[in-house]
Symmetry: C2
Subunit: 445 residues, 2 copies
């Protein structure tokens, strides 16, 4: 994990946030390549979940909703961590993680045995960030930053049902920021207080729920394999009854073998009719499906939900590779080309040669209209290749002496390091084909 964090910093994928002010615990800002990678994740998720389907529409609901939403959803009552205070050191800890907690006088699971910490009984601490909307700062103006995007979907169920003329099974997908006041964030961007959720609520007839639950576990697993995560690093694990959230009838975690061990990548939950029923009760608006034949029921909900950040770390962990090539260490991100922030680099071999530079610029201008492409003429060619390897650029086109003679260029493949020559006029079509091809991790399955 340290190596990934270091690469992210060095190459401008991720910076610790507010660094010049000493940071702000476990908050991160994304640099240029981080933004590009995140945008690829977002667009490929949307492509699979909305654009290639007829049965799912998109939604973008507000971060600050009417607070009654969180009363109905159960988050006000249930979305808690148990906390204890220490009467001696005045620090606060998660009661279920005392073993890992740190303070000057380390608390213990058995407070009676250590004189240093004097812990209170655990009490419930709500993980929603609280704020006030409007000019008054009293109970009437309290509001919350959403801890998930799903509730924004449920409260728009009726709008979509009517306006998009839908009949179950159909889904509503949303990507957006969510906020949780985690007491113990950490492990790079793996557990952070603000993150980007990608959630889809799929509304189905109740008797089809179990079948659709299995379907979405398979679909989402297939998506990760398609974009290069190795089979051996992925598994589905069903939650035990005691692990399940208050709304869940059944949940399976798709887990990835992160550098810190097997951890949740995505959750696929069967939420039953919990949410639509709760919002019907609390709002007085009936959230149900009524067919033209008079058929009437409250749909059940299957929810594949994942945070951008978990995919981001899984992709980088899977792609990170070090090897020795010609007695030099090479670090390379073996990302699926569709995920790579930059699709190709265009490099004049000798940056003092004006003809090479001009020819390279011309090729660069031709390609950048279609894809994110970089032009680089600074320093030795070897250093330039290594820089592209580290940001995961799958192809590099080099303009050299021979180009000026016969209008061919060298293409260098990031993973195999193979080089071949192509006519410069065919580079655009070649790159288009290469980016459409299936790709598998050189590390195997």
């Amino acid at each position: 994990m340290d190596k990934i964090v270091s690469l992210c910093r060095r190459r401008g994928f991720v910076f610790p946030s507010s660094e010049i002010y000493g940071g702000l615990g476990s908050t991160y800002d994304y640099g240029h390549y981080g933004v590009l990678l995140r945008d690829n994740i977002r667009q490929l998720w949307l492509r699979a979940m909305v654009r290639e389907r007829d049965d799912i529409v998109a939604l973008d609901s507000a971060v600050i909703l009417n607070p009654r939403v969180w009363e109905a959803s159960g988050h006000l009552a249930e979305f808690n961590d148990p906390l204890v205070d220490c009467r001696t050191c005045k620090l606060r800890f998660r009661a279920d993680q005392l073993g890992q907690s740190q303070c000057g006088r380390k608390p213990s699971k058995h407070p009676g045995e250590t004189p240093e910490c004097d812990l209170t009984e655990p009490r419930q601490f709500n993980l929603m960030f609280q704020t006030h909307v409007g000019a008054l700062q009293d109970e009437s103006s309290v509001a919350y930053l959403r801890p998930e995007t799903a509730q924004g979907i449920f409260i728009n169920f009726k709008n979509v049902l009517q306006l998009a003329r839908r009949k179950p099974p159909f889904g509503i997908a949303q990507i957006g920021k969510a906020f949780r006041n985690e007491i113990t964030p950490g492990n790079f961007v793996f557990r952070v207080r603000e993150f980007e959720l990608m959630e889809m609520e799929y509304f189905v007839p109740p008797d089809e729920a179990a079948e659709w639950h299995r379907y979405w576990i398979e679909e989402r697993m297939g998506w990760y394999r398609k974009y290069g995560l190795r089979e051996s690093m992925l598994r589905a694990r069903e939650h035990g009854e005691e692990e399940r959230s208050h709304y869940s009838s059944a949940t399976s975690d798709l887990e990835y073998r992160y550098p810190i061990g097997w951890q949740e990548l995505e959750g696929v939950a069967n939420r039953g009719d919990f949410d639509l029923t709760q919002h019907t009760k609390h709002s007085g608006t009936k959230l149900e499906y009524v067919g033209s034949d008079g058929e009437r029921y409250t749909p059940w909900v299957i929810e594949p939900a994942v945070s951008m950040e978990r995919i981001f770390v899984a992709l980088l962990a899977d792609a990170y590779h070090e090897e020795e090539v010609a007695e030099r260490q090479r670090t390379v991100l073996q990302l699926h080309p569709a995920m790579s922030p930059v699709k190709a680099a265009v490099l004049p071999l000798i940056n003092k040669n004006e003809d090479m530079v001009a020819r390279a610029r011309r090729l660069y201008e031709e390609l950048r209209g279609e894809w994110v492409v970089e032009y680089d003429d600074s320093g030795q060619i070897g250093r330039r290749y290594r820089r592209q390897d580290e940001i995961g650029t799958p192809f590099a086109f080099t303009i050299d002496e021979q180009t000026l003679e016969d209008e061919t260029v060298t293409v260098r493949h990031r993973d195999s390091l193979a080089q071949e020559r192509l006519p410069i006029s065919g580079v655009k079509a070649w790159l288009g084909d290469a980016l459409r091809r299936d790709w598998r991790s050189p590390k195997g399955d």
Copy 2:
């Protein structure tokens, strides 16, 4: 404006948020077509500001930053509205907008003259939303939701300067949510409490600042014209000294003639060295440019800044058009095709004809890999056209009897209502060309 709001609701672009709970003043959720339109705005802004340029990189910083950022930026001290309380009705009003305020006992600009309202002296109310990070709810844990994305850029200035090996002039662009606790939001999504900012900070040598300021006003004006806003509805207006924000050396508003009158669409500010100097002072980290020749200065900053929502409303207002065609009322969104949520519709003329349906589905499957395309076989063809007109789909391909005979389809043009026949095998290439062509509003300039 009412007609636009009504269309947005009817066609699922925008819903009042939390509607089943009585809403939450001036908060909105975006439906399917709203999400698609917003994504087009985002991608076309990024294309012009980052992808087509060598001198600008992207950034995505956190919403909740170290609170010292807002001390340094001046937002804690200066980002205020003057408020007054009424001792009688207990409501709170903006002191500078008393004339427009409403309560049971309407306040007056001259409190002495109306016995109903008994107003206090104005006091400053900070527009930043406040929350607490971590388990303690005291002064030490206070944090703010960012009211702009710009500060996230300034505090990463040094990271980008070093890692992206940049030399002024260069820019950092960011798109992201921002939050302002507006006392008087309103006018649909025109003034809302949470919105999406698109800001670019362009760092330049101080003596070039005025020139770059003019450059960016022109660039941004050109972007709006390119994507179809009419010349006659756009103007640039320089701020008077008294209008300027605390950080600004000079600001020009690009204004659009909204249904509510001329209003700011985008601001292009010359922020001078205010921000880098403030953050240098408050953080102790020198934020300056040092050249390899020892040249050293604090860059000045030119900032084009616009909210997604202002562009969204301007595009819809410019595109909204009603006309009578063959004695029927037609409502059409004459959007630039690059902005249109859906690029083409594929329609079988007779939805009971299985061959037509199959042929239409096949064309649809071919096109949807490239673009957002809709297939629709429900109801009369006339109704289906009108539905596509209202969401601004520029082209509709209709599969009819003749298609089954000679493999041609009809293409219907949204703006001119012209129809022509094309070979079905050439539709994909035709659409690609059509979407690349320049487009001008049929309403003229």
